[in-house]
């Protein structure tokens, strides 16, 4: 069992918010700066427990390897997520997804429109169904989890 503290300490979506991302993107001029920022965001992903890199936690449909685990805090009812990938860009985009979805109550999480967010950041092509990088199945899996927890 993973310590719940690892989930609760994830800064993405808590200390680092969508406002931070939106502000940062406004000042990024070219693709190099934008992707340097995305790569940096990827470095903010908290350590993912190695023993959890198992089939059950594997997100399929990716060129890179992606893992996702979750924890629902019994006190607040909020859903906490941890993600890891061996590809840096995917890590960065996963960080943006976590900033949008992590540490939210399931019902609230389900109201977030990730497509709209990625469109606004001009990153939609990364999450479009034509790209086999697994981000879309990652978001799908998170929404599924939230839907399950919301009905309980």
């Amino acid at each position: 069992m993973i310590a719940s503290q690892q989930f609760l300490d994830n800064p993405l979506g808590q200390k680092i918010t969508l406002d931070d991302v939106n502000d940062a993107f406004e000042f990024l001029d070219d693709w190099e700066e934008r992707y340097a920022y995305i790569i940096d965001l990827g470095k903010q992903l908290p350590a993912f427990p190695e023993e959890q890199k198992i089939e059950d936690n594997y997100v399929h449909g990716c060129q890179s390897q992606v893992w996702l685990i979750h924890y629902q805090d019994p006190d607040s009812g909020r859903l906490f997520l941890l993600i890891d990938s061996d590809a840096m860009i995917v890590r960065g985009l996963a960080a943006i997804i976590l900033i949008a979805l992590n540490a939210r109550k399931p019902r609230e999480l389900l109201t977030v429109d990730i497509d709209e967010l990625f469109e606004k950041l001009d990153l939609f092509r990364h999450i479009s169904p034509t790209r086999g990088n697994g981000l879309r199945s990652m978001v799908g899996k998170i929404r599924e989890l939230a839907a399950q927890e919301a009905t309980q």
Binding site: I39, Q63, S64, I89, V90
Partner: protein
């Protein structure tokens, strides 16, 4: 620039590029640099025009013969078949079967040879095969109890000939091997393999998908039993491919699919098959695509093939020279005899990172396992990035690729 050895002008790449409309596209605000030719090559206007003309002036179903359009369509369709026959130097158009592509061609052969296999018989494939030349054999092996034996690859990415010779035994019935590796670019010495296999009465099946875009195969000189390739990698349309088969073997093989065209006479008591090649072409074929493939071959034949090969090798050599300008870059597949394909990894970067950031700079490459997972396992990688060149690529594009890789490497190093 002149090719001194040949004493005549080198390939006029700038003129050739004008034949390929898509090469003037922009991607992410940058001029397209298309280096994913191994996945699918672009089409010259001659192919687009041939297909357009076919639909505007000739289209009808083929081999029905009741009206003029049917005659025109059939003439164009069968003309393309003869173009293919000349391209591979087959004896007869009866040996040229249209398929949807290499994959379907190999499935057709695997299915057709299944009856020749019994339990414990062995099928040799190489470790560098595309899944399309592994999985159909596995399916047949499952049905018949035959066993798949992989031929090892050396660390340079060449076939281990000694391993092949020791695997080639009394139970070997089929040798299925690629002419050129889609991942490594290695040109395999298939003449030698075919000769040794045939001495033992082993059927030989060659996957030519990655070879034909770079050079012409001669099926009579190779003396192989089957040779398969796809139209879309040969600057032709998608949805069309070719299976060359030795006539006596095709005659002996059962049909692949049943339906129209492939029959001579149908009754509920007994149905008899049509003659070659139609026995293997059930249903209305991809007529316009066959015509387009014929036009693609005619286009290639209009080029100086020697100059094409020289130009392609110049691209590969230039790329090889620039590898050291990207810190941490390592080429996978360093065989002595290669087509212009470069698989690589960069330390600390995932292939998908490389692909994404090259795309940002207008450069298209392929990343991933390239449908060759056993080979990925051999090199202990999840995947590679692969730049695959065609004769319409320029030395300047090679330099753009490496400038872009240097930029990416810096981005991650910061």
């Amino acid at each position: 620039m002149t090719d001194l050895a040949a004493g005549k002008p080198a390939l006029n790449v700038e003129a050739i590029r004008k034949d390929f409309p898509i090469l003037s596209e922009t991607v992410n605000g940058k001029p397209l640099v298309y280096l994913d030719n191994g996945a699918s090559a672009q089409k010259p206007v001659q192919v687009l025009d041939a297909m357009d003309r076919y639909y505007r002036q000739m289209h009808s179903n083929v081999h029905r013969g009741a009206h003029t359009l049917g005659d025109r369509a059939t003439a164009a369709f069968e003309g393309a078949r003869d173009t293919v026959r000349q391209f591979v130097n087959a004896r007869s158009t009866r040996e040229i079967i249209w398929t949807r592509g290499t994959t379907e061609a190999i499935n057709l052969v695997a299915n057709g040879l299944a009856g020749q296999l019994s339990e414990g018989d062995e099928i040799l494939v190489s470790q560098m095969e595309h899944h399309a030349n592994i999985v159909p054999w596995q399916m047949v092996a499952e049905r018949t109890g035959a066993i798949i034996r992989p031929i090892q690859v050396t660390p340079d990415g060449e076939l281990d000939i000694a391993a092949f010779e020791s695997l080639l035994g009394d139970r070997t019935r089929i040798l299925a091997v690629t002419h050129v590796s889609n991942v490594l670019g290695t040109v395999n010495p298939i003449e030698q393999l075919i000769r040794k296999a045939r001495e033992k009465g082993v059927f030989t099946v060659i996957d030519g998908a990655q070879a034909v875009p770079h050079f012409k195969p001669d099926v009579q000189a190779l003396d192989c039993d089957f040779y398969a390739f796809s139209g879309h990698k040969l600057f032709g349309p998608t949805g069309i491919g070719v299976l060359y088969g030795r006539e006596s073997l095709l005659e002996a093989m059962p049909p692949f699919q049943g339906g129209g065209e492939m029959i001579e006479r149908v009754s509920f008591e007994k149905t008899t098959w049509n003659t070659l090649p139609y026995k293997f072409e059930a249903g209305t074929p991809a007529i316009a695509e066959a015509v387009g493939l014929g036009a693609a071959i005619n286009y290639l034949e209009s080029l100086d093939r020697k100059a094409v090969e020289t130009a392609e090798q110049a691209l590969l050599q230039h790329a090889n020279k620039l590898v050291e300008t990207v810190p941490g870059m390592q080429v996978i597949g360093t065989a002595a005899n290669k087509v212009p394909v470069m698989s690589f990894k960069i330390e600390g970067l995932h292939p998908s990172d490389i692909g994404t950031l090259l795309d940002q700079q207008g450069i298209a490459i392929r990343t991933g396992h390239h449908c060759a997972m056993p080979l990925m396992d051999f090199f202990s990688v999840q995947g590679t990035a692969r730049a695959s060149f065609a004769f319409y690529n320029t030395l300047d594009e090679v330099e753009q690729l490496f400038a872009a890789l240097q930029k990416i490497q810096r981005l991650f190093a910061d």
